[in-house]
Amino acid sequence: MITPALVLSAVLFVIGTLGVLVRRNAIIMFLCIELQLNAVNLAFVAFSRLHGIEGQIFVFFVMTVAAAEAAVGLAIIISIFRHYETVNVDNFKLLRW
């Protein structure tokens, strides 16, 4: 079941990447990043069947970081929304030449 799990992980990661690339809604992009994180977590768990408990421990930390990231990220989105009244990233173009 390890190989199929890794394949699933890869598929989820690719879909997540696609989502980050093509969606304009900041929150959805954020969700897709979470999806990528989950795909990686799945790979870790699959690998823990080969290499031991460390894989699961790493997943634990990734989840914590994801939680922290979600908290901060969403706070940023909220303050951006207050400013622009939108979460469409095409409107945030200050960081350009």
Binding site: T17, V22, V89, D90, L95, W97
Partner: protein
């Protein structure tokens, strides 16, 4: 460094035990240090004077040195400058007398600290006391002291008085480093240092562009020679791994006699010597160097610095003895310079220019001496020349001083240095007149004055060398001998011409002006008197045996003292020469012995002086303002064979053109173009790449993904 300086003062350094023999050096480091201290003190005074005069100018006026007593900045140097020189001279005398009684065979090397150590190569800050450096030290400090004293009178009215003495002391410091250093590296330090001081002092009145340019010219021409010195030094290092005199000369005989390496080293050293000692083709700076104050001309450009090249060749006698081609080159260049400069001196009207070309000519003689292996004769002429040429320059200085004040009194703009404006000065300045005639007899080689012995020995040695059993180019040396004799006659002619034009006949200065002509003050004529005495008796320290036994000599009272004194220095070279050339000749190419030719040349010299005296005395000389332009060959001589113009055309202008090409085309065009091109390219590429910086997070994520893919691809494939 600090501790070492203390060691210099307290212990007099650490002498190497086995070399010391009976000779106990007496604070030799202090001899070098004293002029440096003088430089620092005078330098501080010069800076203070600079501040004071700047303050005065800012206040709307000008610093007045005459009313209300001279400030300390202009009184103290009169004590400091000559004072340190006197102390240094006395110390040198003490060391000299100690060495006289010691009969040391090996040089005494006193090392103070390690100057540099890189890998296997070390150079110590060490001084070498031996017979040659001792003679040079005596000349430098002795004549130097006299010229410092003279300067007190000569430069008194100059506002740059403290600066002048600072430079002069610094010069002596470097000159002593040059002659006392124990390695070529240290010698080079002194070599460059005296060059710097020469530059500073030639351009002493730097607000006059011509004089500043003369300083530059001296500096640049000397650089050409310095390249030779450096290359020779590098070659020595590559060959022997050291540049210490003792070590190099010890190993030198492992080189093949006449080999290309030793010839190259000797020739490169000679290039350096030719630059410093104003030999063809690098002599052009010395006549221009007369732009400096006259005592400077006496000290640097006659008595000491310009003889550094002779000192170098004499010091490297072993190398030159091993390279007969180099020896022939040295002697050839020397004899040509002697003749060439003498011809130019025939037609010069500037009193200092005559003396300058005379100096070049006499330096040529010294190189003939060291070139034919007569190192002691070369050094001997160096010493006597220091006496009488310093005397001539100081005498000329006294004349110019007097002339200058005469013209100053009427605000005339006539040239105070032009001999056509002089004449009849003997009535106004008798002491100067007498002493300068003594120097003229000495330089003309008339018995019993100093120049007779030194010059005749050089000429004789040329003949003797050419006639040696296995002499390399006997015919060549015969030609040298003839030219040297001819140049000696020219010397007698132009010097007498100068004396007559300056001191005899009727005065051409002008009615009003001539009332202000006066004898120099005692502080100026006292050095003249001392030098005149030396010019009379200086030659008797080295009387060849054949002359001593004849009616020209004093028999057992005199000896070839200098020759024997320098024997430890020249023994190795003499030995090499004897082994390869066989015995020197005892008769001239056309017959006759040493005594006979000495007699002939002195009789000829007297005859030339007498004839010239009548000839020039009868000719009517008109003041410079009314003089007509010369024609024909005289004009060529007056214009110094057009050598400066030739150099301008052949060397300076092509260099300027090439430089301009490199500037305009290579630098401004290609190099700047490339640099700017790189800049423009970077900006262009940056502009294109900045297009990717859309500000859109998606694009960034996209580029990031591509980057990840690339890295992934590289790690996979």
């Amino acid at each position: 460094m600090h501790a070492s300086l203390a060691a210099v003062l307290v212990q007099g350094g650490q002498a190497t035990a086995e070399a010391a023999g009976h000779f106990e050096p007496f604070y030799p480091g202090l001899i070098i240090l004293l002029p440096l201290i003088g430089f620092l003190l005078n330098g501080v005074l010069a800076l203070r004077h600079g501040v004071a005069s700047a303050t005065a100018v800012r206040g709307g006026g000008e610093l007045d040195l005459d009313t209300g007593g001279r400030p300390a900045t202009h009184t103290l140097p009169s004590l400091i400058g000559p004072g340190v020189m006197l102390l240094a001279f006395l110390l040198t005398v003490v060391n000299f007398t100690r060495m006289l009684g010691a009969h040391i065979e090996e040089p005494v090397v006193i090392s103070y600290w390690t100057w540099m150590a890189t890998g296997t190569f070390t150079v110590d800050a060490a001084i070498q006391l031996d017979q040659l450096s001792m003679i040079m030290m005596m000349v430098v400090t002795g004549v130097g002291f006299l010229i410092h004293v003279f300067s007190v009178g000569y430069m008194k009215a100059d506002s740059g008085y403290p600066r002048y003495f600072a430079y002069l002391n610094l010069f002596v410091f470097f000159m002593l480093t040059l002659v006392m250093g124990s390695s070529y590296a240290l010698m080079f330090v002194g070599w460059e240092g005296v060059g710097l001081c020469s530059y500073l002092l030639i351009g002493f009145w730097f607000s006059d562009k011509e004089k500043a340019d003369a300083g530059k010219k001296a500096f640049i021409v000397n650089r050409i020679g310095d390249v030779g010195f450096l290359v020779a030094m590098f070659l020595l290092y590559v060959t022997f791994g050291t540049v210490d005199f003792v070590a190099v000369f010890h190993d030198a005989e492992t080189l093949a006699y006449g080999g290309s390496l030793v010839t190259a080293i000797a020739l490169f050293f000679f290039l350096g010597a030719a630059g410093k000692s104003a030999q063809i083709p690098l002599y052009v700076w010395l006549p221009d160097a007369m732009a400096g104050p006259t005592p400077v001309s006496a000290l640097i450009h006659a008595a000491t610095m310009v003889t550094a090249g002779v000192n170098l060749v004499a010091r490297s006698s072993v190398l030159f003895a091993l390279a007969p081609v180099a020896g022939a080159t040295v002697a050839g260049v020397g004899v040509l310079t002697a003749l060439f400069a003498a011809t130019i001196a025939l037609k010069q009207n500037d009193i200092k220019k005559v003396l300058a070309y005379s100096t070049v000519s006499q330096l040529g003689y010294m190189f003939v001496g060291v070139g034919v292996g007569a190192y002691s004769a070369g050094v001997f002429h160096l010493m006597t020349h220091a006496f009488f040429k310093a005397l001539l320059f100081l005498g000329a200085g006294a004349v110019i001083h007097s002339m200058h004040e005469a013209y100053h009194s009427t605000h005339s703009h006539e040239d105070a240095q032009d001999m056509r404006n002089m004449g009849g000065l003997k009535a106004h300045m008798p002491i100067t007149w007498v002493t300068m005639w003594i120097a003229t007899f000495a330089i003309a080689g008339i018995w019993p004055f100093a120049g007779f012995f030194s010059k005749d020995e050089i000429i004789w040695q040329t003949a003797a060398f050419g006639g040696a059993t296995h002499a390399p180019y006997p015919m060549l040396y015969t030609v040298y001998w003839v030219i040297a004799l001819a140049a000696a006659m020219l010397t007698a002619f132009y010097m007498t011409r100068m004396m007559v034009m300056t001191f005899h006949g009727t005065n051409r200065t002008g009615e009003e002006e001539s009332k202000h002509l006066h004898e120099a003050p005692v502080v100026m004529w006292a050095p003249l008197a001392v030098l005149a005495t030396l010019s009379v008796v200086g030659g008797w320290i080295n009387v060849p045996e054949s002359i001593r036994e004849s009616f020209l000599g004093l028999g057992p009272l005199t000896s070839e003292w200098l020759h024997h004194w320098l024997e430890p220095i020249t023994a190795q070279a003499t030995h090499i020469q004897a082994a390869n050339l066989g015995e020197l000749s005892h008769s001239a190419p056309v017959g006759g012995g040493e005594f006979m030719w000495a007699l002939i040349s002195t009789v000829l010299a007297i005859a030339v002086v007498a004839t010239t005296f009548r000839m020039v005395g009868q000719k009517e000389i008109v003041p410079a303002a009314q003089d007509v332009e010369l024609t024909g060959f005289a004009k060529v001589l007056y214009n110094k064979w057009y050598v400066d113009e030739f150099y301008d055309r052949v060397i300076v202008e092509p260099i300027l053109r090439t430089s301009r090409f490199f500037w305009k085309v290579i630098d401004a065009g290609i190099i700047d173009g490339v640099v700017n091109g790189v800049g423009w390219t970077a900006r262009g590429v940056g502009f294109v790449i900045s297009m990717f910086q859309t500000g859109s997070v998606n694009t960034y994520a996209f580029i990031l993904t591509v980057g990840v893919l690339v890295i992934l691809g590289v790690s996979i494939f």
